[in-house]
Symmetry: D2
Subunit: 229 residues, 4 copies
């Protein structure tokens, strides 16, 4: 697993390391019958059987470590996945770099699936011009936030309090590790159409990285998503 | 377990429900030897033995559900505890109320333990006057953030994007559920002197609620903290 | 939640305690939109929405503690559920009572779904007479096992080694605690037709206990099982 | 990580795969301050700081998959560790090979720490001659168990029921995967003097395998165990 995929305006997902393989998953499943991996002619069927019948423990015998740079509001959703391990940059120890997520005009005009679900009606789409104006105001606000943040740090406000001025659009960075079963669970929820568009971009990038290393398992995952299963 | 404890300027911790008791913990421990709870004259010794020898599974047979209102930066630390269950207010579905954490001048002048640890030297404390000024700027910034947020919502920016303007000082609300073993693990980390002062106030409040219902277990916990064990 | 349900020849499942309710689940889900429970006329729809769309975290805000007496081979399957808390009788500390599971002739003649799946062909069913004979031999073997066990204990063999003579049919006892989401996950796997018949009887009994306390959630669960979803 | 270590009379622990390294742990810890791994002259101190101050999340960024052959009563203790992933041979699908653990005379005469703890007094040690006799009886019993098991299988008793005659001394096989933090937690409990001698041998073997790949972390672990911390 290798490579870095740019996500949003300032973020990325980067492969750090993986363990296991499609073959290892078969080997683990075969513990129950005392046989190992044979070849894909005979074992592709078993991998499909495991996946479609939700015998998921063999998929815990592989996994990946990924580095992510994303806005705080994306991390807030991500960290709800309690089966991953996380190490994140800490604003208690170092000043957060001055990078914030700025959505595009086009993005602003697409209402999230979430709002429809909650309200029964879609938000009214904003006009292009109003979107452009609001984005300009947002960027000006980010500048103000940073001024208050930096001045606080200079004056001797403890870092852990100076950060109060930081918006949830601020980028942070972390490493996340999970086994393949739990990565697929993450992807199933975060690639779904009702997930927020921003975290969907991250989930899509993670899926691309995992496909390099676990092509057969990820093909089954894609198939399952297509079927809505 | 009952009651609500005010925390910080706008937050609280409220008891929702608990299960189990000090007695139930003894009962569970006695599964191994096929006896139940007798009385505290004879069983206080067993409870102490379990706790001090880290036989912690019996403490998983009790627990509590708690409601918390806290700033986002506190929730960010809280949610790293992956053994709790969470349901939180979502800015994707409803506009977050306009409430933000404003630290006091006194708080601003106390450097966090965290910074010392990372830097080898304490941050220089800010003067009272500078602190007062910076807090005023912070409050003005909160007002700007809210204006951008509200105008975005009015213009039709999807809620999930309008929130980009919200600072990490913004209050949110959640319910958290955990068993007693995991609550104590949370408290051990978050009541520690090197935890950020703000989350320490929440941890102290949670400890007070748990003491009502699990007085003997929590006494052992307090004792252990005193010993640094 | 109350009562004890007999399972197999010597086992049972007993209600110890529960927390939460169908109403609490709604309350927890409503954290996201800042409303509480209204009434079932309006909220039955939300409960169904949560369940059928797999928004499962609110179901973590309720749960139950159950006491179980079952053969060791059943506990071996049960303990693979890593989201439950367990306290079990320990053969290191007390001699296990002399109780073992003896299947009926009828049970012996029903091949498990498991074997079919693994072999492509069903085991040939045993005749009634052969089944009766084999059961008699099994019971005689249990007697031998117990004699070796008891003599070992009398001679001073440490309990933890004397137990080597105990068969996996031997009954043990434990308390198990889990939240409702995880109980339903357990039930989905262990009430399924391909689960071993013995653990299915335990799962059915657990479902009956949970139905007393969480009737609406369990009705949705039953419905989902019927649909194979 | 490579190699196979024999454990007990018929068991082993074998290295399958690992991920991460002592260096990766430093890299992960440095996410908080935005620096990477430098060299061990400067970073050995950080690794020690993390370990001794229980900042354990960086140790979740490394791990290992191990194959184990052990008696069922050892697996029963092992599987209580709910943070590991398991795939085990299943007696529902294949007949368990006829291999059982036979303790030595010397082992039989060493009372486990467990019994002392529970009873206040040690079990009286068995004489050499009585131990020899009891072991002979145990081996004869294993032969009887196997006869009932095999005859059951021949007669058409479903595998999942024929196994009722199998003792908890019977060997089984599995793969286990965990991150390094959780392996160390396992080792801390199972290498302790009050753990049963048999599982201690397995834990010692796992520690040897992990030392090959994570020498610096495991040195800190050994040091901590020596201090009783």
């Amino acid at each position: 697993m290798m490579g870095t995929i740019q996500v949003l305006d300032n973020g990325y997902v980067a492969a750090i390391e993986h363990w296991g393989s499609d073959e290892r998953i078969i080997e683990a499943a075969r513990m129950s019958t005392n046989k190992g991996f044979v070849d894909w002619n005979s074992d592709a069927k078993l991998l499909r059987f495991l996946y479609t019948n939700k015998h998921m423990t063999p998929f815990e015998m592989a996994g990946a470590v990924i580095e992510v740079k994303a806005p705080i509001f994306v991390f807030r959703e991500w960290h709800r996945h309690r089966t991953q391990s996380y190490n994140e940059m800490s604003a208690r120890y170092i000043p957060l770099p001055d990078e914030n997520y700025v959505p595009t005009v086009a993005r602003l005009r697409v209402s999230g699936g979430a709002n429809k679900q909650a309200q029964g009606v879609a938000d009214l789409a904003i006009t292009c011009e109003a979107a452009r104006d609001w984005i300009a105001r947002l960027e000006a606000l980010y500048t103000c936030c940073q001024a208050v943040y930096e001045d606080g740090l200079k004056l001797g406000v403890p870092k852990e309090l100076a950060r109060l001025s930081v918006p949830v659009a601020r980028y942070s960075r972390m490493r996340a590790s999970a086994n393949l079963r739990n990565w697929m669970q993450f992807l199933a929820l975060r690639m779904a159409p009702n997930a927020q568009w921003e975290i969907r971009q991250y989930a899509n990038a993670v899926a691309s990285l995992l496909e390099q290393t676990f092509p057969r398992t990820m093909a089954l995952f894609r198939e399952g998503q297509g079927n809505g299963s």
